[in-house]
Amino acid sequence: MRIVVLGAGTVGRSIASLLCLHRHSVTVVDTNADRIRHINENFDVRGITGSASQSSILFQAGVGSADLCLAVTGLDEVNIVSASMAKAMGANRAVARVYAPVFRDLSTFDYRRHFGIDRLLSLEHLTALELARGIRHPGSVVVESLARGELEVHEVMVSKEKKGVGKALKELELSKNVRIGSLSRDGRTWIAGAEDKIQLGDRLTIIGTRHEIDDVKSLFCSDTNQKQRVVIAGGGETGYHLANVLEGGHHNVVLIELDRDRCEFLASHLKQTTVVNRDATRRAILEEERVSASDVFVACTGDDEDNIMASVEARDIGANTIMALVGRPDYAHVVGKLGIDHAVSPREVVAKQVLGFLTNGPIVSKTMLSEGSNLSVLEIDVKEGSPATEHVLANLGLPSQTLIAAVIREGFAAVPGGDYQFMPGDTVIALIADEMIESIEKVF
């Protein structure tokens, strides 16, 4: 495929190298001639020196015939303008990276729609969600990166004689915002139907909105009320989003940030997080903030070295699980040796997203539900004129072993009922047996 990457900073360079590795034809644009020279020497890409917001440059880069244009310069405004222009000039898909949260909020002004851009991505938000996933349900699939963190897939083991056990699904009167997805018993996994009776020892996946999923969990197992203590070092955009996603619920969150003004902001926006105005890179402070008694320590300041050092200290003090934001690729090899359990790199997070944009069909991404199962979670874009838009959900004649778990329209996630009518531009989250994927592709 033909891909134009606007911006050759850390993010742009890593995306370009990844795309080269996947044998795509890549053009990179940057104002800085040194960066272009550097990227030209290291990767098999075409480099153009110039401003991504100038039509002449975009034209030279060939956005008109590009399958995908990724605007990832360091400036939000440039990314928005150039992605918008690329789309108007003929690029099949245009994606812009933005930092400020306001660009992704559509209450007052819908930037994405106004500028005709397909996706606005926040690296910091995606990274925070990746960290949150590691903290909340290690090993589970969480589709929250699309649904603004509102939608999740949880796996539970039916462990206690609670009131949900021994009943058929249709008798449970589940909230309409929650679906039971798959059911595993005796080594076999299938998509649960209304007649299936829940037994002790079954493994279930539950899909739904964050608030209601816990109610359903309590029907099948009792140990959902243990609070985890999480200490976050660094209150930048990533730390803020992470605290925001985690707070309330099952986590006690402490956020340590050095900058006093930023602390004021954090304290006023995070109602249930304890914000501490101190230097998290100092061991004495980590000790005083009782990092030793924490379940998870997350280092996500803007500085790799600070993150690694704080992580090593936290490990030494006795935190249970250590996570760190590590941007530089050459550090990736050593972090495990230093006792960091889970290192998240913003570049890798964005790379995962970008690879999803490279599909031609309606399926944007496909994730295995769990290791070794034949069920997958699909993200599907509803295309203009597809059969799915012609009837309500109940009348679509979807193949068996398929569950439409959720639909995201204009950034809002919902669990659709039988009378739901899909519209072009909707994103559908479906749970499906692998052998049915081809037939569902035809529907959308």
């Binding site: 949260p101 306001v102 909020d105 559509l106 209450s107 007052t108 002004f109 819908d110 729609r113 106004h114 926006h269 329209r409 204009e410 950034g411 809002f412 919902a414």
Partner: protein
């Protein structure tokens, strides 16, 4: 876009006495719910969306006025309401003043033009001191409605 095109007469409240931002937003959403303008099962989601918008920057635009708003897929057309609070609500306004007059707007995501025209209308009409003062002094929802109609007929600007 005129006020009467999106403000729900039945949802206007002139007796709002609350302590904080969240409570006033909740009360106004309740009024919309009671007027049948929003669905009961979407009420919480709408309140959360409006509060989330406030996190980006207060919609308290000064001079005792706030315009909390959001887009939400559960509404099929623009819905809005007006609330008056005699004692005022702390709304983190730009000028630090308490808010006495609030316009709430919830609109469907696929009508961005109407949404912007409604917001534009609210801010343009509220530039008029007299209109603003009369609204804040309103004791009955009927008074508010009458003022809105008069504003629609350009009696203030």
């Amino acid at each position: 876009m005129k006020f009467v095109d999106f403000v729900s007469r039945e949802a206007i409240r002139t007796d709002i006495e609350v302590d904080n931002k969240e409570q006033v937003i909740r009360a106004m959403a309740n009024a919309l719910l009671e007027a049948g303008k929003i669905a009961e099962d979407q009420h919480e989601s709408i309140v959360e969306a409006i509060l989330k918008r406030e996190e980006l920057g207060s919609t308290g635009i000064g001079r005792g006025v706030a315009v909390p708003h959001t887009k939400h897929p559960s509404v099929k057309e623009l819905v809005g309401t007006v609330a008056v609070s005699d004692s005022g609500v702390d709304f983190d306004s730009l000028d630090g003043e308490k808010v006495h007059l609030l316009f709430m707007l919830v609109s469907p995501p696929d009508r961005p033009g109407d949404h912007l025209r409604a917001l534009e209308n609210i801010s343009r009409q509220l530039r008029d001191e007299t209109f603003c003062r009369f609204l804040k002094q309103s004791k009955e929802p009927g008074d508010v409605w009458q003022l809105l109609e008069e504003a629609d007929n350009n009696q203030f600007v």
